[in-house]
């Protein structure tokens, strides 16, 4: 029997007042795949990521996660939110050490301290920031902050990693590290949805490209589309 897709969107619409910000008639996202979500500014990419992260309820339609329709009430959403990670374009880092930031999500889940520490160390190593644990997160450069945010997401081993313009305003070495880390995730079973207006850095690795135009899903295509 074929396992259900990680996400299934049926008639998903999101309105802000009179404006239709997102309109996706039907779409499936499978586990362990890398999707590029492309479109101009204001095309609905961030809205779609927020919905996939279970942070923003759609105005209409059904979102199914692993075959089960999502119930948009707080108690039902928390366990779902804990399976996915959303990385914002300008991620907010808490005013504490890098290690505390990376370990935050583990702490709120009640992960045992020793195990959490190991995950923090591994995640920082994965993004090339070994030895940064004791530094104040607020004092890092833009690229380093983005890598810390990625490490924070990686520490959770999420089923889905949703990224909103992760290369925007990031220096080249940091962008290369982020790109390389992202490219390894689908092989580990993580579904990656990466919103970008410039799909070039990951075009070769993407399983599919989802194109949004003025909120509407204008098409999907192969890895080399975009």
């Amino acid at each position: 029997m074929t396992p259900p897709p990680l996400y299934r969107l049926d008639g998903i619409r999101k309105r802000y007042g009179d404006r239709l910000a997102l309109d996706v008639p039907a779409l499936s996202l499978r586990e362990g795949a890398l999707y590029l979500l492309t479109g101009e500014n204001g095309s609905g990419k961030s809205t779609m990521l927020q919905i996939l992260a279970f942070l923003l309820p759609p105005s209409a339609g059904v979102l199914a996660y692993r075959g089960n329709p999502v119930e948009w009430r707080e108690a039902a959403l928390l366990p779902l939110r804990r399976q996915v990670s959303l990385l914002h374009q300008s991620p907010h880092l808490f005013d504490r050490s890098v290690a505390d930031n990376v370990g935050y999500a583990l702490k709120v889940r009640g992960t045992e301290e020793g195990a959490a520490h190991r995950r923090v160390v591994e995640s920082l190593e994965a993004v090339g920031l070994s030895g940064f644990g004791a530094r104040r997160a607020r004092r890092l450069s833009g690229g380093e902050r983005q890598r810390v945010a990625l490490a924070r997401a990686l520490a959770l081993s999420p089923r889905a990693l949703l990224l909103d313009e992760p290369f925007s305003g990031v220096d080249k070495p940091s962008a290369a590290v982020i790109r390389d880390v992202i490219a390894t995730l689908p092989a580990r079973g993580t579904t990656v949805v990466l919103a970008t207006h410039d799909p070039a850095p990951l075009r070769g690795q993407a399983d599919d490209t989802l194109r949004l135009y003025e909120g509407a899903l204008a098409g999907t295509g192969g890895a080399d589309d975009g």
Binding site: R81, S85, H92, F94, D95, R96, Y104, A105
Partner: protein, 228 residues
């Protein structure tokens, strides 16, 4: 001028010799200020956070009311509390009037709006990304609120220090509810008022200098926190 210089010399001698009246007034002041600040913080910090972070129909009038309460004269608070804790008042049975406890209650009422207002300002000035980020990372609503409090901790501490600064320097509540009883409810400010009215400037100046030092220390602390 000679009189003032002589008073200043005498006050320096009182401070250096740790005069018992001076020590007692300083101790009572710090004692009542400490406990009233604790009470005001216990009420004012959650109140400021609640108003700052929640959405309700009368939020704007509530903020205006809170702002207005910071300007209530100390003697009015003294009068109201006096009405409640005097022998004929509804809380007269507790025997609080003219005790340090009475000053603590009055000062706590005085400082609560100040602590709440500063906390409210800190909460409203917090980065709006804090709570969504915490939720994105799997925090519960309660955990995300605690994270926000942790992020604005310097603002909250500044609110508490401001409350302390207000009560340590007030005179109306201490005079009306404490009764200025020597060695028992006499604070620095009530002692200064009394000594000045008696023409005993030396002790008044000595206490004024200590009060100034306390106020200065509080402000330095506030300044350091604001730079964080």
């Amino acid at each position: 001028m000679g009189f003032l210089a002589e008073s200043l010399r005498a006050s320096a001698a009182l401070i250096a010799g740790l005069d018992p009246d001076l020590r007692s007034a300083v101790w009572v002041s710090l004692y009542v200020s400490f406990w009233s600040t604790i009470l005001a913080s216990a009420a004012g910090v959650p109140l400021g956070l609640w108003i700052g972070l929640s959405h309700f129909p009368l939020k704007r009038p509530a903020i205006t009311a809170l702002n207005s309460l910071t300007a209530v004269p100390t003697v009015l608070i003294g009068l109201l509390v006096y009405g409640f804790i005097s022998r004929q008042g509804p809380l007269g049975g507790f025997g609080l009037l003219f005790t340090p406890g009475a000053i603590i209650v009055g000062d706590a009422i005085l400082a609560t709006p100040i602590v709440a207002n500063f906390t409210l300002a800190a909460a409203r000035g917090a980065d709006p990304a804090i709570v969504p980020t915490a939720l994105t990372l799997g925090a519960t609503r309660a955990q995300s609120t605690l994270t926000l409090v942790s992020e604005i901790r310097f603002g909250v501490v500044a609110a508490v220090i401001s409350g302390f600064g207000r009560v340590v320097s007030e005179v109306g509540v201490a005079m009306m509810l404490g009764g200025n009883i020597r060695g028992f409810t006499r604070t620095m400010t009530t002692a200064i008022a009394l000594e000045t009215s008696k023409g005993e400037f030396a002790l008044g100046i000595a206490l004024g200098l200590v009060l100034l030092a306390v106020a200065f220390a509080v402000n330095v602390l506030l300044h350091l926190l604001q730079q964080k």
